[in-house]
């Protein structure tokens, strides 16, 4: 099993689509540092504090990293593209393997369950990497420019309000809040990759397989738009700036279900898979 997982991970990471998707994410992350964080650090706000005049609350790491700047084009683009970026690296690999019958070669060498399980694991890891690495790079790079001043509710520059999920965590342990949301993004990225893998059994077009989670997210966003459940749409729920209120346990439960159901379907279909 270890060898099959290692083989699939090698295929997942050593291909140009992974590099391309990661580069797009890193471009957005680093662009955000250049366009938002760096100007903050060099702006007039800091002159007032350096001179001791005080006045307005200066920018903090927890109000300036990519996940919380809801007014930044790069933040919006990253979270809107998240379902697509997560699936670009390796989520269409099962579709490709099935259409080229390469899966037959691998299955007769490693067995059905091992093949499909290692495919799911490799896809999840590559999807998580493409999303989490840019977020971490942006967080660390922003911390190089802006100090991590403790969030102050009265300052009105921080994204968490009382109706947002984990708002108290944000004001008591902002680092933990950030880590929680990065882990949430990782969970949903893995779920999107698994969804694409599961859809490969019935959809034979690589592009459509890759786009399936993105299309579902857009549909959810459209259907829930203007309703009381708008905050539960994946694109809104994953954003640390939380444009709409939602419930943490429900968001996590949806993410876990989205991850488990496609995995289950893939393993069951894989168990009885026959390609003649």
């Amino acid at each position: 099993m270890k060898r099959s997982i290692a083989f699939e991970i090698k295929r997942a990471f050593l291909n140009w689509t992974f590099c391309a998707a990661l580069n797009v994410g890193l471009l957005l992350a680093i662009g955000h540092v250049v366009m938002v964080a760096a100007p903050y650090a060099l702006s007039e706000s800091w002159n007032l504090w350096r001179s001791g005049a005080g006045g307005t609350y200066p920018p903090s790491l927890y109000s300036a990293w990519m996940g919380v700047t809801s007014y930044s084009f790069l933040t919006i683009t990253f979270y809107f593209l998240l379902p697509l970026l997560a699936c670009i690296p390796y989520a269409d690999s099962l579709c490709t393997d099935l259409s080229t019958h390469y899966s037959n070669q691998l299955i007769c060498r490693m067995g059905r369950i091992r093949y499909f399980a290692s495919k799911l694991i490799a896809t999840s890891i590559s999807s998580i990497s493409v999303i989490v690495i840019p977020l971490i790079v942006n967080y660390i790079a922003t911390a190089c420019f802006i100090p991590a001043l403790w969030p102050e509710p009265a300052a009105q520059i921080f994204p968490a309000s009382p109706s947002n999920m984990l708002a108290s965590l944000f004001y008591h342990a902002p680092q933990t809040y950030t880590i929680v949301f990065i882990m949430l993004a990782a969970l949903y990225s893995a779920a999107f990759g698994a969804l694409s893998i599961a859809s490969s059994f019935s959809i034979h077009n690589r592009f459509i397989v890759m786009l399936t989670p993105f299309a579902l997210c857009i549909t959810a966003q459209f259907v829930l738009q203007g309703s009381a459940f708008e905050g539960f749409s994946p694109i809104n729920a994953l954003s640390p700036y939380q444009p709409y209120p939602s419930i943490y346990s429900v968001v996590v439960a949806i993410g876990i279900l989205l991850l488990l159901i496609p995995n289950f379907i893939t393993l069951i279909k894989g168990r009885y898979f026959e390609d003649v």
């Binding site: 809801s70 084009f73 683009t77 520059i157 077009n205 459509i208 786009l211 459209f222």
Partner: protein, 288 residues
């Protein structure tokens, strides 16, 4: 890029028209699910308009209860107001504006990518013309976009004629309150020019997606289209032509908006550039 080695010959007119007709027919039959999705989208948007009217949010602002086809069309094509990041408010993308554009770009990208691996070799060898193969695709895209926006007008008119209770293309207080846009001064020729602008701008986006799909593949093309779409909704500038598909940014409803005539001219120019680039690329590529 492989150099073309095929001998180009003059293609007889009957083959041209047959090839174009068959391509358009095939495009429709291959994209039935998306076509149905667009029809469902129009129905859902009209339903959303009627529900909002009925629940009274707009009605409370107005004594009249009538609405017109123009109100429904303005509601569907409203788009987003100009966004200013200075105030640091949350920027949200309107899905009602986004979904048709995403569907059109998707159809453009997939049709090209499917054909390149399948029918293109047969069509090019039978018609002996790569240009004809690609031209048929652009014509199919034009038909799709015109049909979509025409369907909006048709469905809006049917609903307004049945239960609207007023002239088809006059602005009502209901519609103005619902969209928060004052389009009461729009005449019939303004509406016609506006809809031509919407069609041409969406078509330009589709042509861009199709041309990029030829060069960098469907995934890269779709990614580029989405980034352009988000940028168009975020920034208000003449260079991002998808801005022209929003009523909220037109000069008919806002003083600093784009004029329809300028938008049409720019979009036609850009569409011409994309089509020319596509034809140039296709002529140098071997599809056999």
């Amino acid at each position: 890029m492989k150099k073309s080695t095929a001998i180009s010959q003059n293609v007889p007119p009957p083959i041209i028209w047959r090839s174009i007709y068959w391509d358009i027919q095939r495009g429709f039959s291959d994209n039935i699910p998306l076509g149905l999705l667009l029809i469902i989208f129009i129905a859902a948007s009209c339903g959303s308009f009627l529900i909002t009217i009925a629940t009274g949010d707009a009605a409370s602002l107005s004594d009249e209860h009538a609405f017109s086809a123009l109100d429904i069309m303005a509601y569907i094509n409203r788009g987003m107001d100009e966004y200013s990041p200075i105030y640091k408010q949350i920027f949200m993308i309107d899905m009602t504006w986004t979904i048709p554009l995403l569907c059109i770009a998707f159809m453009a990208c997939t049709y090209i990518s499917k054909d390149r691996k399948g029918y293109s070799a047969q069509i090019v060898s039978r018609t002996k013309s790569r240009v004809l193969w690609l031209t048929a695709k652009y014509l199919w895209l034009t038909v799709i976009v015109v049909l979509f926006y025409g369907s909006i007008i048709l469905v809006s008119s049917l609903i307004a004629r049945t239960i609207g209770g007023t002239e088809l293309f006059t602005a009502t207080q209901q519609g103005i309150a619902l969209t928060s846009l004052d389009y009461s001064n729009m005449q019939l020729n303004d509406i016609a020019l506006l809809y031509i602008l919407f069609i041409v701008a969406a078509l330009t986006g589709g042509c861009m997606a199709m041309t990029l799909s030829l060069i960098i593949g469907p995934v890269g093309s779709y990614l580029a289209f989405i980034v352009l779409m988000i940028a168009s909704s975020y920034f208000k500038t003449n260079y991002l032509f998808l801005d022209f598909t929003m009523l909220a940014r037109n000069s008919l409803v806002t003083d600093e908006g784009f004029t329809s005539a300028f938008g049409i001219a720019e979009c036609l120019l850009l569409a011409g550039i994309f089509i020319f680039a596509g034809l140039l690329f296709v002529k140098r590529t071997d599809y056999l």
